[in-house]
């Protein structure tokens, strides 16, 4: 079967009619002859009982966004499980730096109010307040996060009030997140809630001077396996200063000065685009969608950043660094291409990687036939131009939108951030580089399938149809894939490997994938005395 023949309706045939109707809208086949992207349904409720890969709002807020801030002590207010499960599961690395000594790093620890029956009945505010007092006494953290879990909203604990009172008592910021797990339809709601509070309570509160001619923030980079460090290494070599990342290996003390940066880079659009937009409104900071995954993608990204500042010296240094890095990795990449060329893959990850990794795989000679996000919105598939047409539903309405205004005295128009004339800036915007994201669709192969919130059932059917060589997914799917006789690579934690970003990361990734595909085990699965039988069949 060629890719363009695939019939999506057949795939869903065994499902109950209602489910079929629902799921059909979440699947779009790329069809070049159709012109623009057909609308995909995304960020809507998961059908109960269909085993989804999605997590909860709390997971998006605590697990993804605020958890990695290394010098903030994060308390999970709720029963024990929620905290336990989000403890160290994401491999966001953090290290000591000149502003954050080892005793100020809390990312490897897990704090829970471990609510008991009586707390549920009589309320848990007192317990939470006491816990804050205890951690302050023991750790003296610079700032504290309080994250809510499902039962909290129901029993009506007022996290905001507890936080406020604790701030008064201890004189440090105590920031609360009403990220009860049932809010929204996935982790995505939690990203938004976290974005709002970081924007309101942290960014802009710093008064230190940030030195550097070109200061960049990297938003939506969580430093899985050290990814952020590799980005930083390159960018600093070219001559940029990194203000802060959000939130891999980030620190409260740096995040509060983020408004001093000249340009925001956005790696994971889904989880952090709110802050990028809000900073644009409030401080005039322009943002650029980047991608450090893939060699060509990294080159394009580096060139675009340099173009944003239009500084000839910067552009020249960028080319120099590109040339040097490329020379270093090309022979190795070519070696792995021999193994990987022509292989096909599926990619199912969160809300951005399924797009990013297509670039890297293409560099290695591989093609992605099916790609899907767990918790993305339509704009992550179709591009930001659809945002005005997305109808808000009951689930998105209950996540507050902040309506910000330019901050008097601090706001500067974006062209001044980039040290260029208004005309030149407008040209840059018109060329489509800045403040935009075109989504995954344009980069899909013709006939390939985009699938939103894919479940086990659909994955298996798709494997039958496309027979890919490898599946990139999370650990929950990893062993299903293996049981089907297919290698899988874990893209949330990288199977304890990484970094995968930029040039060197591409080599590490290529090596890992090549290992997966060339392991003799896959061929030895059938016992020798049964081999002839299979051949005869």
């Amino acid at each position: 079967m060629t890719m363009t023949d695939v019939n999506v309706d057949e795939l869903l045939a065994p499902m109950p009619d209602k489910v079929k109707k629902n799921r059909r809208k979440h699947i779009v086949k790329k069809d070049l002859s159709a012109g623009s992207c057909q609308q995909i349904e995304a960020n809507t409720r998961t059908v109960p009982g269909i085993i989804t890969q999605r997590g909860c709002c709390y997971a998006g807020c605590k697990g993804v966004v605020v958890g990695p801030i290394k010098d903030m002590l994060t308390i999970t207010h709720g029963p024990i499980g929620c905290a336990y499960y989000s403890w160290g599961t994401r491999r966001n690395k953090a290290r000591v730096d000149d502003r954050t000594p080892p005793e100020e790093i809390y990312t490897t620890m897990c704090f829970s109010t471990d609510m008991q029956e009586s707390d549920i009945v009589f309320g848990g505010e007192k317990k939470l307040a006491k816990m804050i007092d205890e951690v302050v006494e023991i750790f003296h953290p610079r700032a504290i996060n309080l994250c809510a879990t499902c039962p909290i909203g129901l029993i009506g604990d007022d996290l905001g009030a507890v936080a406020k009172a604790a701030e008064k008592r201890h004189g440090i910021p105590v920031i609360h997140y009403n990220c009860e797990g049932y809010k929204g339809v996935s982790q995505s709601a939690g990203h938004h809630i976290a974005n709002n509070q970081i924007m309101e309570r942290i960014i802009g509160t710093g008064t230190e001077k940030v030195d550097g001619k070109y200061v960049l923030n990297i938003l939506g980079e969580y430093n899985i396996g050290g990814d952020a460090w590799e980005n930083e290494r390159l960018l600093e070599e070219i001559g940029y200063t990194i203000g802060s990342t959000l939130t891999g290996d980030s620190a409260y003390v740096n995040i509060r000065n983020m408004h001093k940066a000249h340009l925001n880079l956005v790696q994971c659009h889904r989880s952090i685009n709110y802050i990028a937009e809000m900073m644009e409104t409030k401080y005039g900071t322009p943002w650029l969608k980047v991608n450090f995954i893939g060699i060509d993608a990294t080159i394009d990204t580096l060139r675009e950043i340099a173009r944003c500042f239009g500084d000839e010296e910067l552009i020249a240094r960028t080319e120099l660094v590109i040339e040097r890095e490329l020379a270093a990795v090309t022979p190795e990449i070519e070696r792995y291409q021999k193994i990987l060329k022509g292989r096909t893959a599926f990619v199912f990850v969160g809300g951005s990687r399924s797009h990013h990794y297509q670039f890297l795989l293409r560099n290695l000679g591989m093609e992605v036939m099916v790609a899907g996000y767990e918790f993305a919105h339509r704009d992550d598939y179709e591009g930001r131009e659809v945002i005005p047409t997305i109808k808000s539903d009951a689930d998105s309405k209950n996540i507050p939108e902040l309506h910000l205004e330019p901050e008097p005295g601090i706001y500067r128009p974006p062209h001044l951030h980039l040290k260029m004339s208004k005309e030149k800036y407008d040209e840059l915007v018109a060329s489509g580089v800045l403040n935009d994201y075109k989504g995954m669709y344009p980069d899909m192969v013709n006939g390939g399938i985009m699938i939103d919130d894919a479940n086990h059932f659909e994955t298996e059917e798709l494997v039958e149809i496309f027979k890919p060589d490898l599946i990139f997914t999370g650990i929950k799917d990893k062993y299903v894939t293996h049981k089907m006789g297919l290698p899988s690579k874990q893209m949330h934690s990288y199977d304890y490997s990484g970094p995968y970003t930029c040039f060197k990361g591409a080599v590490t990734f290529a090596k890992d994938v090549a290992h997966s595909l060339s392991t003799p085990a896959w061929k030895m699965i059938t016992a020798p005395w049964e081999q002839s039988k299979t051949e005869q069949r």
């Binding site: 499980g81 897990c110 008991q116 499902c150 086990h456």
Partner: protein, 465 residues
């Protein structure tokens, strides 16, 4: 109190906890029932997190359905969602049994799941499919209690007065699939007819091969569970199981099946107790092959006692395993420095009393402990070996105490599902790992230590200065 110091939790902070939540244990127990699917009634985060935790330990596909409650249902009740979830699970998975476990959210909302299920049954044609609901609010217990509560609920669901038969029941706590297989082998060797529940020895450790099935083959057949009420006796490895949750006690009180509560068959004495019981029940002599295994274990204990006597282990995890491990250590001359359980109400401290009364040193016993408390106690007592699940990795990372992984969850090593520690052979495998971990630690620091000693004795360092 003689023999040990017991400390219960006094702090508000639960920092780096030692236990997980109640439905998680329920999910594992349900995997031991043939052709079943677990459905967590709550928002989907819980079931996703529980899948993650289990997948990392068992390295197997783990499907857990969710009723995916959102804000609206959180306020108005989750019945409609639960019904849709049941419809879809039945349609896609075609299970024989669906176990509904409640999350904290559903419990806090006060959803009456029993009633929902009853209504569902009456107006849906679901034929033979059984639906078992278990109340598992995590603020009421840990995954250990969830495991017991679910096992008990499964039995209670099926048990009817049955004709007496010659078979026995064997009820296991949360142990590895490999351990279950070993216990079954011992039962087979002793020629007993038995029903072991929950038997997830295959469902959570599937061999490769054949077409992938959504519901793993294996598990205790429901027809066998229904006959448990007519068994001759129940052996339950559940000394620490609270009476209210005890599946064996339920069978005894309701159906008069005598309960023999044993410690896990880990260690020589633990295994002797089990094998001795089987011998009495079967009236058969212990086969030579098993006596050989016993002999090999004794031999190893004799050969390694000097090394093991130097161990001051910190043992932590689920109470049933912790108790058995403490016994194992003591019979090998390793006096525990710290013995810690993450749950309360297990009676662990009281159980340990008689074991510890003659111990040379006084171990610290902690109940409802988090890892900060455990770490603190381990440092104070100069513990030199950490025995337990992956949660204790910080004891190694921060304090340099070498670790021996056993129990649940294991997510920083492979093969959690294959860790074998029961029976004579299993104990021997564990004991060798125990001894070798001590030896590795010794050899890795031996040279440095020797050098320092030499430098000081011969005054080399002084001479240089």
């Amino acid at each position: 109190m003689t023999g040990c110091k017991v400390t219960s939790r006094v702090r508000q902070v639960n920092e780096n906890q030692c236990h997980m939540c109640m439905p998680l244990g329920g999910v594992i127990a349900l995997r031991g029932v043939e052709h079943s699917v677990a459905l967590v009634h709550g928002s989907q985060g819980c079931s996703t997190y529980m899948r993650l935790a289990n997948v990392e330990h068992f390295n197997e596909p783990i499907d857990i359905a969710s009723s995916s409650l959102n804000e609206k249902q959180a306020i108005f009740g989750g019945e409609a969602n639960l019904r849709i979830a049941l419809d879809n699970v039945i349609r896609v998975y075609r299970p024989k049994v669906i176990g509904i476990l409640t999350s904290c959210l559903a419990e806090t909302m006060g959803d009456d799941v029993e009633r929902f299920v009853e209504t569902y049954r009456t107006d849906r044609e679901i034929g033979e499919i059984e639906i078992i609901s278990v109340s598992t609010p995590s603020y009421g217990g840990t995954h250990t209690e969830g495991f017991w509560a679910t096992t008990r609920a499964v039995i209670a669901h099926y048990a009817r007065p049955a004709e007496r038969h010659g078979g026995i029941n064997v009820i296991v706590p949360n142990i590895s699939p490999a351990d279950i297989r070993e216990i079954k082998r011992l039962l087979d060797l002793m020629g007993l007819e038995y029903t072991l529940l929950p038997d997830y020895s295959l469902t959570l450790d599937r061999p490769f091969g054949g077409r992938y099935q959504k519901i793993a083959p294996g598990g205790t057949p429901t027809a066998a569970i229904a006959r448990m009420s007519g068994a001759r006796a129940t052996i339950q490895f559940g000394l620490t199981c609270p009476d209210t949750l005890s599946p064996g006690l339920f069978l005894e009180e309701r159906f008069g099946v005598p309960l023999i509560n044993l410690p896990l068959p880990i260690g020589l004495d633990g295994t002797d107790l089990f094998v001795g019981t089987l011998k009495d029940l079967s009236g058969q002599p212990v086969p030579d092959s098993l006596m050989l295994e016993r002999g090999w274990l004794c031999d190893a204990m004799a050969d390694t006692h000097k090394i093991n006597a130097a161990a001051r282990p910190v043992i932590y995890g689920e109470p049933e395993l912790v108790y058995a491990l403490a016994k194992l250590c003591l019979e090998n001359g390793s006096v525990p420095a710290v013995i810690a359980g993450g749950t309360r109400n297990s009676g662990l401290a009281a159980l340990l009393q008689p074991l510890l009364k003659d111990a040379l040193e006084e171990p610290i016993v902690l109940e409802e402990a988090d890892f900060v408390t455990i770490e603190d106690a381990a440092v104070r007592t100069s513990a030199n070996l950490a025995v337990g699940h992956s949660g204790g990795k910080y004891l190694t990372e921060r304090q340099g105490i070498p670790g021996l992984r056993v129990g649940y969850p294991i997510h920083d090593r492979v093969g959690g599902q294959r860790i074998l520690s029961v029976g004579y052979a299993g104990t021997l495998a564990l004991l060798d790992r125990f001894t070798n971990t001590l030896l590795e630690a010794k050899y890795s620091s031996y040279r440095r230590q020797r050098k320092e000693e030499l430098l000081n004795e011969k005054g080399v360092s002084d001479a240089k200065a």
